[in-house]
Symmetry: C2
Subunit: 332 residues, 2 copies
C-alpha cells in the first residue's frame, strides 16, 4: 500500500473532516457549501491570505508548522479588526499527492491552531497543481455590529502602539535560510526561538476586544513595519526613535553585533504583530485594559500633521532603510 | 510605459476596487478584511471552488471568460443550496505580472458576472507564483435560517430532476481542445454554442427559491452527471433511461452521429446544472413553481431502495461508462 493519499475522499474524510467536528454548519465537509447562523447583533468579518511554498514558507518546512502558519496569518487579520474567529474554509493545491505521514502532521498543526484560536474548518476544495503547494484559507470571524476596526481612521494626535516585538520573524527567516549567518553572535537557543517566530506566528487575539473598544485604526504587520505603518498613518506622519521599538532579547543581541540588522525590524515581513492607534484621551484606559488581559504593547510615537515617517537613532540621526517592505506581487 | 501592471496597488485600485463599489462592507478593498451585516433571520452560506489554468480553463482563454467562470462555478454552488449570493473574496496568483489589457478584460468579465448574479467583490489577495494562474473565489450567500438545501437528504420514492441540459460543456471542451474532432457532424453555430457552454457556465439562480421550498437534496453537477448523481443518491439508487436525460439540440446532433459521445453526457464534467430531488407529494407544486419562474427542469427518475445506478438505452440495454467522472485530485 502506497504511503501517498490516493483520492480526494480519503484526504477529506480521514484528515480534514475531524477538523470540522463540533461545527453543525460544516456538515462534516460532506456538502458543497457550509452555513453559519450569525448571532444577532454581530457582523461577519472575512479575510483571506493564501500562502504558497517558495513565497511564504519553505516546501520542506514541517507540515505542522505550515498548517499553523496558514491559519495563523488569517486569524491575525481578524484579531487586528477587533473580531474573533468562528470558522474557515481552506483550499489545497498539491504538486504531488501528499504522503499520509505529511498529511497527518498537517492536520495536527491545523487542529492545534484552530483549538488555540477557537474556530473550525467548514469547507474547502482540493486540487492538483503543476505549481508549488498552495494553501488558501478564508477566515470568518464576528464582531459586534458596526465595530470592525478599520485600517483607515487614525488622526493627528493619536498615539501609535504595537503588540509584541518586531523583526523576530525576519531574523528567523534569515536563520532558517542560512543558519550560520550571524555566527557566534547568537546563541542556539535564541536562534531556534527566532526561527519559531518565523514559522509559528501568534495572532494577537487577546488584544481584539481592546481594539474594538479603543482603536481608531488597526492592522496586522505582515509586509514590514514601515510599509504597514505608512498604511496606518494615511495622510499623517510620525517621528520614531529606533530604541523605542519593542525588540526581543534575541533580536537585540543580533542588532548590537550588527547594526545593519535594524532593517529586519523596520522592513522585514511576517511579524504578525498588531499596529494600532488610539486617541490621547483613551490611552490610559486602553493601556489598563491591555495590561489586565496580559497583552504586551508598546507605544512607538504620536501621529502628526506631516506626512513624513522618520526613524531616528538615539543620536538623532535619521535611519535610512533601503528596503521598503515586502510586495508579494513583485517578489518573484 | 510597460503594458504590464507593475504593482499590487495599481492592480487593486485600478482594476478591482471598482468591483467593490456599492458594498459598504468592502471598504473599497482598502482594508485587510471586509464585513457583512447579516439580515436577521438569514443564515450565511459559504462555498469555495478555485480554478487553475491547465486544470479548469486554458491559460489562453479570453480573460473575460476566465473571470466569468471563476465566479459562476462558485455561485452555482450557492444556487444549488437554495442561497442567493451576496459577496465574494478572490485571491489571484499570477505566473507573470498581467498585461493591462488582459486585466481590463478580466475585470470586465467579473463585472458582468457579479451584475448577473447580484454580488460584489469584498476582498482578497494577490500573489506571484511559479505555478499556473490560479483564481480562488470564496462565495458568500444567504438563505433563510435553517433552509440551506443539503446534498444528503434524498429518500427512496423521491423524484430526481435536473435543470438545463447535460453534456454540453464536456462536448464544448472537446471542441475547444480540438475544433475538428466532430468534423461535419456539427455546424459552426452548434460548435460555438457548445464551447460557450464550457466557457461561460450559467448558475441556475432562478431555481434557488424553488429548491429552498421543495428540494429534499440538491447539488450542482460539476464532476460529471453519474458521479454527482451517486453523491445525491446516498444509499439509494436509480434506474434511468438515456433518452429521458435533457440534451441540447447540438449535443443530440453529435450523439446521433457518434453514440460514444453519450459518455460526455453521463460522465463529462463542468455542466453546472443542478441535480435535485423532491418528494412525490411535492412534485406537482415544485414543477408549477419552476415553470412560473421560467426554469427548464426535467425529471430523470425515481430513487429506489437499491444502491445501484443504472442507465439503459431505449432497447433496455445497460449503458456502461468507463469514465467515472472527474476527480481533480487525481487528474494531473
Amino acid at each position: 500500500m502506497s504511503d501517498r493519499i490516493s483520492n480526494e475522499t480519503e484526504l477529506i474524510q480521514t484528515y480534514l473532516a475531524p477538523l470540522a467536528r463540533g461545527c453543525a454548519g460544516a456538515l462534516d465537509l460532506s456538502d458543497d457549501a457550509a452555513y453559519i447562523s450569525p448571532i444577532p447583533g454581530m457582523d461577519i468579518v472575512i479575510s483571506t491570505d493564501p500562502i504558497l511554498a517558495g513565497v511564504h514558507f519553505f516546501a520542506d518546512d514541517n507540515a505542522n508548522d505550515i498548517a499553523w502558519k496558514a491559519l495563523a496569518v488569517n486569524v491575525s487579520d481578524l484579531a487586528a479588526k477587533g473580531a474573533m474567529p468562528v470558522a474557515y474554509t481552506m483550499t489545497l493545491a498539491f504538486p504531488d499527492a501528499p504522503e499520509r505521514a505529511w498529511m497527518e502532521r498537517f492536520a495536527s498543526g491545523l487542529a492545534a491552531a484552530q483549538q488555540a484560536f477557537g474556530c473550525h474548518l467548514i469547507g474547502g476544495d482540493t486540487d492538483r497543481t503543476s505549481g508549488p503547494l498552495a494553501i488558501g484559507i478564508t477566515a470568518i470571524g464576528q464582531v459586534p455590529t458596526g465595530k470592525m476596526v478599520r485600517r483607515r481612521g487614525a488622526r493627528a494626535g493619536d498615539h501609535v502602539f504595537v503588540t509584541g516585538t518586531l523583526g523576530d520573524a525576519a531574523l528567523g527567516l534569515k536563520l532558517r535560510s542560512s543558519g550560520s549567518i550571524f555566527g557566534a553572535k547568537v546563541t542556539d537557543e535564541a536562534k531556534s526561538w527566532l526561527i519559531d517566530r518565523y514559522l509559528r506566528p501568534q495572532p494577537r487575539l487577546q488584544i481584539s476586544a481592546v481594539l474594538q473598544r479603543y482603536a481608531t485604526a488597526a492592522m496586522d504587520i505582515s509586509d514590514g513595519f514601515l510599509k504597514d505603518l505608512r498604511r496606518l498613518c494615511g495622510p499623517q506622519g510620525i517621528a520614531l526613535t529606533f530604541s523605542d521599538l519593542p525588540l526581543s532579547t534575541s533580536a537585540r543581541q543580533i542588532i548590537m553585533a550588527d547594526i545593519e540588522q535594524r532593517a529586519c525590524v523596520l522592513a522585514g515581513g511576517d511579524d504578525y504583530e498588531i499596529l494600532f492607534s488610539v486617541m490621547a484621551a483613551d490611552k490610559a484606559a486602553m493601556m489598563a485594559a491591555a495590561s489586565l488581559l496580559g497583552v504586551c504593547i508598546k507605544e512607538v510615537g504620536v501621529l502628526r500633521n506631516e506626512s513624513e515617517i522618520l526613524v531616528r537613532d538615539d543620536e538623532g540621526n535619521v535611519i535610512e532603510v533601503s528596503q521598503s517592505g515586502y510586495d508579494h506581487f513583485n517578489s518573484l
